[in-house]
């Protein structure tokens, strides 16, 4: 299978990035050091090429109503100019993907989805389209996407764009860079303040080069994964998959059962969950995906879904899917790391508090 390349691929190679296959794409996994890239985002600003992600547009009178019908979170209740994170579920309540719905203007909605799920999502959404007065288009091949993340993001981006108000978190604004249209949203996947900027390939390439000339740190997928895990954000294929419901993955808050109708409502109404997604922190040892989680009787009660060394805490941190009736009341579990059991504390708060608005 040939892998796809973003329009910034040559820029990444020039910067000395290590390239790895990811979701069918050749993507930069790191440039210099994962640690330096994570700290750049926590303390200053870093930029990620996430052009592999998918963009769908829904346009027409029923755009908001259709978006509201296909996802579990509340789209119609959000004002124009807002972005809404949501699971996309089947009738049986299992998760097809997680995505962000951007309400650009009345009758015009952008949906950004995971790269690995573009075809699956588009085919699904298209199959539910009948009866709604709106057009659905997959524009993934037309758009590049940068994520500029970190506390300095706003002061860096503001002078570069035609106009950029001090947007609220999860808001979106249509602006321009060097006369070319861009969509700038105050969203991201790092827990820090920052923006995701959509535009044509040439526009985004010019913006990337501009950010490089301003010494913004280029960051790869490895740093992105550490950053999202430190703030406890789920990742499709790890915490989320075709078998689990939003409730299994701690996303019950994004299921709005008060909505009149949406796909999966009937199945999700009893809040079905077989698992609890927990955050684990270890004093010793680094938890990795697939490692078993045990209780004090050495019984396997779950699995690590994502794990890493936290750059900020310098401790092993993880998310784990645990059988809902097996979560120990003392909130201490064991992680089996190479046949050795390491104690882990269940924690409710994110490992790291991001600085987003």
């Amino acid at each position: 299978m040939t892998t796809l390349k973003t329009h910034l691929y040559d820029e990444h190679v020039k910067l000395g990035a290590k390239i790895v296959p990811f979701a069918g794409w050749d993507m930069p996994v790191q440039y210099t050091s994962v640690k330096d890239e994570v700290l750049a985002v926590r303390q200053g600003a870093g930029v990620f090429d996430v052009s592999h992600m998918g963009e769908f547009f829904i346009e027409g009178d029923d755009a908001e109503a259709f978006a509201d019908y296909i996802v579990t979170n509340d789209i119609q209740g959000a004002t124009t100019g807002k972005a809404v994170y949501s699971p996309l579920c089947r009738e049986n309540g299992t998760v097809i993907d997680d995505l962000i719905v951007y309400k650009l203007s009345p009758g015009r909605v952008l949906i950004c989805v995971n790269a690995s799920n573009i075809d699956k999502d588009f085919n699904w959404i298209k199959s539910k389209h009948q009866g709604f007065k709106c057009n659905l288009t997959n524009r993934s091949a037309d758009f590049s996407l940068l994520a500029l993340q970190g506390p300095k993001s706003f002061e860096i981006l503001k002078p570069l764009l035609n106009e950029l108000p001090d947007l609220d978190y999860y808001s979106v604004y249509e602006s321009a860079f060097e006369g070319e249209s861009v969509i700038a949203a105050r969203t991201g996947y790092t827990g820090e303040d920052g923006f995701e900027i959509f535009g044509t390939h040439e526009t985004i390439k010019a913006l990337w080069k501009k950010l490089m000339s301003l010494n913004v740190t280029p960051c790869g997928l490895a740093a992105r994964d550490v950053l999202r895990l430190e703030v406890g954000y789920p990742l499709y294929g790890h915490e989320l998959n075709d078998e689990v419901t939003p409730y299994d993955a701690g996303l019950g808050w994004a299921v709005k059962l008060a909505k009149t109708n949406f796909i999966g409502k009937e199945s999700l109404a009893p809040k079905p969950s077989r698992y609890k997604l927990v955050k684990l922190i270890l004093d010793k040892g680094i938890p990795r995906e697939g490692y078993p989680v045990l209780n004090s009787q050495n019984e396997t009660i779950g699995l690590i879904t994502s794990g890493t060394m936290s750059v900020v805490l310098n401790k092993g941190v993880a998310m784990a899917r645990i059988q809902i009736d097996k979560v120990p009341s003392d909130e201490v579990v064991l992680v089996d790391i190479r046949q050795k059991a390491y104690p882990a504390q269940i924690t409710k708060k994110p490992f790291v508090t991001g600085g987003h608005k």
């Binding site: 996994v29 994962v34 640690k35 490895a222 994964d225 550490v226 680094i286 060394m309």
Partner: protein, 129 residues
């Protein structure tokens, strides 16, 4: 990459370096390996007295995002482990050849013939990566 390959050491295809002094072999990972791994955050090496077999795994080195096995270049008994690296494995990134992992008292000197010279290792790195 992989320009730092001291001539006085011998190397393995698993990117370990060895310093041979009599019947004691000091083992570390090469500059190429530390660079490929990235920020090293965890190291697990065997206790003193452990018997190692050439080619089998003897420990683990972890970077922020990856876990890699360490393979013993020789057979023999672990006679020392580098206490300096406990709690600060990142020293391997800073100085791969100054950061030895273990010392092994070898059983079979003939195994040393399997190790690569600096020139051979340079060529190996160039051809395989």
């Amino acid at each position: 990459m992989a320009t730092n390959i001291p001539g006085n050491l011998k190397y393995t295809k698993e990117h370990e370096w060895t310093l041979i002094e009599g019947d004691t072999v000091t083992v570390g990972i090469t500059d190429f390996a530390q660079s490929a791994l990235g920020d090293i955050v965890f190291l697990e090496v065997p206790e003193i007295g452990t018997n190692l077999k050439s080619g089998s795994t003897f420990g683990v080195v972890e970077s922020i995002k990856s876990v890699s096995d360490l393979y013993s270049p020789v057979s023999g008994e672990v006679v020392a482990r580098n206490a300096d690296l406990e709690g600060s494995p990142e020293k391997i990134n800073e100085d791969a050849y100054g950061s030895w992992l273990i010392k092994v008292k070898i059983n079979d000197a003939a195994e040393l013939n399997n190790l690569m010279t600096a020139e051979q290792y340079q060529e190996f790195c160039n051809s395989s990566h």
